[in-house]
Each structure stands twice: as C-alpha cells, then as structure tokens.
Symmetry: C2
Subunit: 632 residues, 2 copies
C-alpha cells in the first residue's frame, strides 16, 4: 500500500493472523489499526500470549515467530531476551513489534495451565444455610372478592420474616403469565428480602450456586448444589487478563493507560467465567437460570476489575481501594451468564493488597476458632500473611509473586505441563516434571525453583548469601557431574537443570544468578512481613503453633525447601500444614452458609492491616531476610 494512501487514511487497518505452530491447529484473525503492536493485536484477537510486564518490553515472555519475509533485524530488547538460535528462527517480542501491513504470526506452543491434582474437596463441617432459599407457594386464586395484585398474592405466601420483598420489575413483567400457566402453584426463589425468580411448579430440587476464585494467574469456578452443599464440578482457566501483564501492577497500569482497558479486562474475566459456566452446565445438564448466586474472591485488584471498578489508586501509596465491604450486584449487571436476577457477591476485603481471597483464606482456616498463635500464608502472584492470636488478627502483604510464579525468572513458567516442579541434587540433578513426557521440559515453576535453590545451597553450589561461585577454586569442590552444570554465560554464572537435549525449546534450562536474586527478594519480603507481624503481636517463633499454607503453591511447595531457603520462620516442619485452595474454599463456605457470609464481614473488619511500606523497621527486616540461611 502506498504512502499516499496511508496519509489519506489515518485510520488505516491491518489484518493480523495468528497461527499455532502445529499443522491443523487453530488460526485467529483480527483487524487492528496500523501501528498496533503484535501484543495488542493478540489481546484483541483473544490469543493469550504470556506477558509478565504488560507490554513494557522488560520480561521477554511475549515471544512469537515471524515468517521469513517479515523479518527485519533484531531490536535491542530482543537481543537482551532472545538467544541467537531463537533470533535465527524469526522469534521477536510481540510487544515491541508494530504491524504496518497485513501480517501472519506463529505462536510458540504452550498449553494452558495444567491442572495438576483436581480433586473435589471433602465434605464441609459447617451448617448448610445458603442465602438462596426456595419456597413452594400455593397462591390464592383471584376472584371479584379478592382483587389483590399478583405481587401481593404471591409475596403473602412467602415466609413472613423477610417482608416486605423489594419489587423486582423483571419478575413482575412475567408474573401474571407464570402464575396462570402454573395454575397458581409456583416456586419462589428468595435471597433475604429479594425475590430472585418465580418458577412454575415445584423446582425445589434444582438450586445451584458458584464459588469463584479469581486469581491473577488462574480463574477457578466451582459449581455447588445448594440443596446438599456438594461440589458438582470445578473448572479452571488461565486468567485472560494475562495479556495485560502477569502481575496486578501491570494490570492496574494497563487500565490507567488505556481508556477502554477497564471494560476490556472486566469482560475478559467475565468471558472466561461464562465459558466455564456454559461448559459445566452442558456437562451436568443444568439450566444456567437455576444458578442463583455466585460468591467470588480475589485479591483487591482482581475484585475491582471483576466489578469493573477503577483500580488506578491501588497502585500508588497509600494504596486505597474503592470499596472494602462485601458487595452484591445482579449477575446481569456484570454480564455473568447465570440467572439475570441472580446475585454476585464479592467477599469483603481488608486493604489494597489484602483482598477478599485472604478473607476467604481466613474463613477456610476458621480463624475465629483457632487457639494459640497461627500464621496463615497465601503465596500466589502476591503474598498475603495473616497472624492470628491474643484475640487479634494482623494482616500484611508483599509483592512476592513474580518469582514464585515464574515471572522475572529466565526459564520461569506457571505450574503447567513441562514445568520442573521438584529438584533433588545428590550426585547429579534429579527432576520431576509436570506431565508425562520428561523429554519436553519447558521451564521451572515456583515449587521447582524453591527446591532447586534449596538443593543448590545444600550442595554448596551457592552460598548462604545466595551467590553462585565464580571462582574455579570454589567450583572445584563440586563433583564433576555438578561442576559441568555450572556455565559461564558472558560473565554470568548459570546452573543447568536440564540440558538442551531434554528441553522443548532446544536450549539449556538453567537457574541464573539473577533468578536466585529474584527469589531472594521475593522470599525476603514474605519473611520480613511475617516478622513484622510477629513483632506487632509480640510473639516469637517458639510461640507459633501452626503455619497454614494456602493456595496452589502451598499445596506443592516442599516444606523443607521452604525452610532451607528461609521463606518461613524456622519452625519444625511438622508445624507447617497445607490448607489447600483456601480462598476458593472460603468462597464456597460463604455461598453455602449465611453464617459464614456474616463471618467474612466480621473477620474483614476485625483484621488490622499493617502497611509494610509505612513500617520503619521493615527495611531492616527485609535486608536481614534476604539471605538463604536464616537462624530465627
């Protein structure tokens, strides 16, 4: 297309085609304004590229491959994150390349987050008293002596304690027809003094709810039967907001910088949820209109984005959220594809970085019933810590996540197929990789990283301060099987976990000095936060009765490794307990029990938030907490 044309048409558009690498795989096509980046086009096309930095060119994750004809040299940022082999193949960073004319782009194979151990949780031990109640009503038939309105004759039959019921126009709109078609025998669905639906006949056997855990990385949905409290299904999808960055700060700045960003990120997460809901309903043969309530948890940023509320001011100090209370809106208002009149509740939150997910963890951890001193730690993309005891609940948070979830780590990745999840170093390195085919190692996930660093420290490959030896004399102490794994890459040391022959990408999978530093910064922040909480409550390590590890990470982390690298206070490993996907469990509890729902508000209000950035001794504690070796 000529320059002339381009000038005359400032709004010129181009077509971008994304192809999966395997033949016969899907293609995605999208039309975007000329000058858009490939990453922007991918987001517009609904193609999920990894992007840990949100398009800033500082993570090197959003790699795609160009056709030979479209290759035009290498950018400085690309030289930084791509090796010569990758560059030779046509690999570029999608966030750094703009599209000026129609373009075809090849995606680098990466399956969606692999769902490692999906078992539906065991029976719950709390009262089944959901907000949603169904009542079969034999409504009085009108006659000239009884000319009451349909609304009055219906609500007169509902339990007296909840009156008056709020008027609901959309129910009223169809009420006359429904009453008469059903010969005045209907089922009323209530939530407190809200009438959510009037259904013909007796539908008491069909009543469902959702518990939703909106992680920065993964969105999880549970379908629960509100009649018996049983979990009927669970689905997880990568949070499609990944395109706007892997961590909450990237997402916030994406919203702040893009006028349509808020709407876009909200609809992405709603769309992912709707896809899972539709799936589950199809599989279970359930009418989505019989799903009356969804209880969601997420960190404060995820909670804001889910509700379409501007998270801009969560980023700068003093990190002020727009709301903290439990919030309930109509499903239709969010576009969630359950009953339009259905309710969506986001559990209350504590602070800008202690969200409703942490309140869910407190519920699941039964914080109100705990005796003694208990520490709850939820490490996801962010780390939230809760210290319970002496009649108080203290909370704090740190931006722990990136390293633990693979961002900022050279070969870091989510706990997905091909990720190294366990490392043992005896004479040589032994690996456990997610998925069957060990020949295709793609990277290392959080639990693998902690294992690797702990084992490297124990094997003497790194010092207590986290330094990889760069003098040959130190290396000489290692057995040859390990020594050959220590490479010198342009003056920087790397430790090879998997040789390129085992690797899906054709390169050695290594732990770099920078990776170790990133992990130290992350774990140092968590440990310093915990120590600040302990100081404020006035407790010592020996006072701690139990450490509860929440989250998927908590499920898979090796307790000894966590203690070895000094991520947690040096308690006996027997005091460390995994409490599973506690945030999601908390959402389920609130869905099934109004007592638990009320308790969520109570716990959120009772929690005292310690803003670490405002604590004078945090800096000191942080510096002390960086070393791997920790004596207290």
């Amino acid at each position: 297309m000529s320059k002339e044309y381009n000038k005359a048409n400032p709004a010129k558009t181009v077509k971008v085609t994304f192809k999966e690498s395997k033949p016969g795989e899907k293609e995605y096509q999208v039309t975007v304004p000329a000058g858009s980046t490939i990453l922007q086009a991918a987001i517009a096309a609904g193609v999920h590229l990894q992007s840990a930095c949100g398009g800033k060119g500082t993570c090197g994750k959003c790699r795609v491959i160009l056709e030979e004809k479209d290759r035009r040299g290498t950018l400085p940022e690309e030289s930084k994150y791509l090796n010569s082999e990758q560059i030779a193949k046509g690999t570029v960073l999608a966030c750094k390349r703009t599209v000026e004319s129609d373009l075809t782009v090849f995606l680098i194979e990466q399956k969606d987050a692999y769902d490692r151990k999906t078992e539906l949780e065991a029976e719950h031990d709390y009262d089944l008293s959901p907000l949603i109640q169904k009542h079969v009503l034999q409504v009085d038939i009108p006659n000239t002596q009884d000319q009451r309105s349909d609304w009055e004759r219906l609500t007169a039959k509902l339990p007296a304690i909840k009156k008056p019921f709020n008027f609901n126009r959309s129910i009223a709109a169809k009420l006359p027809q429904i009453l008469r078609a059903a010969s005045y025998q209907v089922t009323g669905v209530t939530a407190g003094n809200e009438l959510l639906a009037v259904e013909p006949g007796d539908t008491r056997n069909s009543s469902y709810g959702l518990a939703i855990d909106i992680g920065t990385t993964t969105v999880v949905v549970y379908l629960l039967n509100l009649i018996n409290g049983k979990i009927m299904a669970r689905r997880a999808l990568t949070n499609p907001q990944q395109g706007a960055g892997a961590d909450v700060l990237s997402r916030i700045s994406y919203v702040t910088e893009n006028p349509a960003g808020l709407t876009q990120l909200q609809s992405q997460v709603i769309e992912a949820l709707n896809q899972m809901i539709a799936d589950i309903c199809r599989e279970k043969g359930i009418n989505p209109e019989h799903i009356y309530h969804a209880v969601a948890v997420g960190n404060t940023t995820m909670s804001h984005l889910f509700l379409g509320i501007d998270p801009t001011y969560l980023a700068p100090a003093p990190f002020v959220p727009c709301f903290r209370q439990a919030v309930t809106v109509k499903a239709a208002e969010l576009g969630l594809k359950i009953l339009d009149n259905g309710l969506v509740t986001v559990l209350p939150l504590v602070a800008g970085y202690v969200g409703s997910d942490t309140v869910g963890v407190m519920l699941a951890g039964k914080v109100d019933e705990l005796q003694g001193i208990h520490l709850l730690v939820d490490i996801g993309t962010n780390g939230e810590m809760v210290l319970v005891g002496k009649g108080r609940i203290l909370t704090c948070s740190t931006a722990a996540g990136p390293a633990f979830e693979g961002a900022g780590i050279k070969f870091g990745m989510r706990a997905a197929e091909g990720a190294i999840e366990r490392v043992r170093i005896n004479k040589d390195v032994e690996l456990e990789v997610i998925g069957q085919d060990k020949g295709k190692i793609r990277g290392i996930c959080g639990s693998g990283l902690i294992d690797a660093v702990a084992q490297m420290y124990k094997a003497g490959i790194i010092t207590a301060e986290g330094r990889m030896p760069n003098s040959l004399s130190n290396l000489a102490k290692l057995p040859p099987s390990l020594r050959r794994r220590v490479l010198n890459n342009n003056g920087y040391r790397e430790f090879v976990l998997a040789w390129k022959e085992q690797s899906a990408t054709g390169e050695n999978i290594t732990i770099t000095q920078k990776d170790i530093r990133a992990l130290q910064l992350a774990k140092g922040a968590v440990l310093a936060g915990i120590r600040i909480l302990m100081k404020r409550l006035g407790v010592k390590i020996e006072d701690i009765d139990q450490i509860h590890l929440a989250g998927a990470f908590g499920n898979y982390i090796n307790k000894e490794s966590a203690l070895t690298i000094g991520l947690l206070p040096q308690v006996s490993p027997s005091k460390i307990k995994s409490i599973g996907n506690a945030a999601g469990n908390g959402a389920q509890m609130a869905l099934l029990s109004t007592v638990e729902m009320a308790k969520a508000t109570f716990l959120a209000q009772k929690a005292e938030h310690i803003e670490l950035s405002a604590e004078k001794d945090f800096q000191d504690e942080f510096l002390n907490a960086l070393a791997l070796e920790q004596n207290y």
Copy 2:
C-alpha cells in the same frame, strides 16, 4: 417482482412511504414484511394514525389515501365507514389493507393534540421535602494511617441517619477518579439510603425531577426544580400507543395477541417521554443527568405498560393487576433518558381500573383533609369516581371514555385543532371551535358532544330518553333553521352541527342517533357508578358538599350541560368545581414531598374499591341512569 421470486423468498420485504398531504411536509419510510397492513407499517414507521379499535376494522378511524395507481376497489368495512366522496379520493382503512409491493401512502392531515390552555400551575401549599437530597462533602484525604476505601470515606460524610448506603457499582466504578479530580470535594446525591450520584464540586444548585402523567390519549411531562419546587416546563405529546387502539382494552389485547407487543408499547411511551425530556433540557439548558427522580401516574394499564409489565389479566374479570404498591425502578432499566441511576417511581394504585392517576387525583384533591362528603370524578378515556366521607374512601371505575374522547362517535375526535368544543342552540346552532380558523371544522370533542346533546335536548330535537324524532310531526315543532339540520341518512337520523362548506373533510359534521346512544351508555355508567358509591356510603344528593372534576375534560366541560344530560348527580352547579390536571399535580406533589409520597401509599391502601361488575344493583342503576332527564 415475479411470483417465482416471491415463493423463493418467504421473508420478502416491501418499502412503505408515508407522505403528509401538504407539499414540503415530512415523509416517513419503513421496510416491513410483505403482507403487513398499512397500519402495522405506520406503527413500525412511528407514524401515528388514529386507531380507536386497535386494527380490528371496527372504528373506521385509520384512514389514509392511496395513489391512483394503487387503488383496487373498496372493501365492505370501508363502505361502512367511508362515504362515496372519500372513496373516490382513494381513502382506505389502513388496518384492512395489506402491502404486497412497495407503496406510497398519503396521510390525512391531523395535527397533534392541541394544547389548549397551558399555564404552569400556581405555587404549591405543601412542604418541600423531596426524596432527592444533595450534600456537599469534604472527603478525608487518604494516607497510610487512613487506608479506608473511597466508598467508606465518602459515605462517612453523608448524613448519619441514612446509613448504611446501598452499594452502587456504577458509582463506585468512577468514584476513585472523581474524588481525586475534584480534590475530594464532591456533591453526593441521595434518595433515602440510595446513593444516586457523586458529582465533582458543589452542584447543589442543580437538582431536577419530572412529574409524568401517562394518559391513554396524551402523555404529559413536567420538569420541576427540586430546590425551590417550581415548575420549569411542561410538554405534552399524543400517546404513541394510539396505534394499538384508543382505549386500554385495545392496548391490552394488542399486547396479548402480539408477542412483541409489550416491548413495543413500552418503548413507544418511553420514546415519547425521552423526546420531550430532550426538548425540555435543550430549551432550559439543563443536563439530563441532573434529573434524578421521575414520579409517574397513569391508569393501571398505562402503569403496567410503562413498566413493561404484562397487562393481559387486567382485561378479564376479576381484573387483577400485577402490582398495586408504589414501585421504584432505576431510570436505566426503563430506558428513560435521565441520570441512569435516577429513580422512576410509579405511584401506588387501587385496582385494575383505579390507577395511580386516581391516587394522584386524591393527593391533589387533598382527600385526607376534606370535611363532609366529597365526590371526585376523573373522566378521561376511563372514568374513575372517588367518594370521600364518614372516614372512608370509596372508589369505582367505568369504561366511560370512548364517547367522551371521540371514539365510537361518527365525527368524534380529541380536543385538538378543528374540534367543536362548545355548542349553543338558540334559533340556530352556534359553535366554538378549537383553533382560529372556523372554516376548517374537523369534528367534535367530548365537551362539545355533551354540549350538543344537552342543547339538542333543551331545543326539543331529542327526547328525554335520547331519541331523535323520526316522524315529521315532531320535527314540525322545530324552527326551520333547526329543522333543515335534521337529515335522514338511509333511515337513520342525523343532526347537522356544521355544513360541509365549513368542514375540513368536505362532509357535514353531524350528531347521529348512534352517537347519542354512545354518550348515554357512557354517562349512564358514570352516573350509575356514582350512585352505587353513594348507596354504599349511605349518602344522598343533598349530603354532597362538593363535586371535584379532574382532568382536562373536567377543565372544559360545561357544568350545566353535564347536569342537563344527567352525567352527574343533580347538585347545584355551584357545588361543581374543576380541580385541573389533578393526576399530574398529584405526581408533582409526590415528587416534591416525601410526606405526600407516603400519603399516596396511605390513601391507596385506605381506598375501598367497589367492583361495579360484581354489584348486584349496578345493572338496575345503569338502566335508570341512561335517560338524559335525571331527577336525582
């Protein structure tokens, strides 16, 4: 287009063009499925044809003119309602003609309802205490010691009595930006414990509301300043639902018979309102988002249609409404173009045919303060009667309207330009016609009809039983100027009010025997209803202290004529008082005063509804009330 093509395309569409008769006037074009009637096309095009029967072919009102090339003989229904001159001009009934190929149709000139005497009402004598309140708030600026959410810091500054404020997602969505852009000084708009808006700075001077009177025939909107209670503007439009019939029963059956009918009629009335609101806001320089509350009244059917609620079961006995309580919904839910979060309240109603308009009349009539015995009569398309006294409020209704508003009357029409509104018969007939140009008489409106029949009776042209003499001996008693006006039309008598030379349509404007019968049926029903109420309350004519006539009709009716034809109990004319557009005034009062709003619910609940169709003595009273001459 060939038959072949037609077969292959069952979904063939045709283009219908509606042209106003005057050159240079508007054209309307619409594409509809082949086989649609011209009336359906007109409704789809937003062209308002008169249609009293809702397309059943039984009123003869929906006249249009075809081009010469499109004329194809005359249908039996057309012969019944059209004279030979009209037929020769190409006049057809739009409801009886289907469109099979592209067609141009000429509209018969008829201006919109003429707004006879629009003066803005006088000062009110009730407290100004609107539901809508504005509060200037100096919100605390956050810091690390005060990490409360924006919602908390905002609502903490709102008056304490209303807490907790319901969470509003759409306000929260923008709250962080608004607070900071306004340096934390904002105006909160509240309605009880609902927060409707948060506006930057101090906007207390700009607060507006609407009072809406949804008549079956005319929709009226008043803009009120909520700061001082003043009426700033008034607009009226013909209710565009007219296309589905002139009376409520036609509209109900239209909804019952057409799957999309409810949505269609609702959006028609909302569209008319939005047009007037936009007009007013433009003229007054008001931001529609500063209109926070609309209070609407209408008969029960209009109230249901306005809210998009199925009115089907208002038609058959026992005439059960879907709701009777005051109902408040968000403006956005109805599509009303004021602040999206603004509230729309429909005042409570009493029964299937005693609507919120009657409750508005009770408010405006200050029914709770009246001493003695008072009768309130609101005659619109329907007639509602309220008898107040002895600590009780009795109500009833009759389908009075059609004759009074021109339907079912040969030359009946709305009180619009060209309508005869006053008739005196001395030696000859003297007329007063709405609008300046008396040469263009188009028909007769309700007050003119009552005058005409009263004067014809007084002049001896009709008997006390309402019969026009068909023997020459009776006619002989009339002066020649009147005698020549009594024509014999195929054996049926007609009395000429205006000769064809004066008439816009080129035909004599007459009162027929059938017209007189229609009026007798209508007024007989009203009078019988009043007498049933009087019996039930145990009062006699001499007990009545005052008769309050509400509505536009009450403004223009000649009291003596109303007494002459026996429409009202035979009280002294001095006891009859017009109370103006009382329904609309009641809506204004409820908008401006929460006391009046609460009173509306009190009055609606206190009112005892007498269902005339279920009263054994109604039939007798009705037969007694038919004669013009009434002695009690």
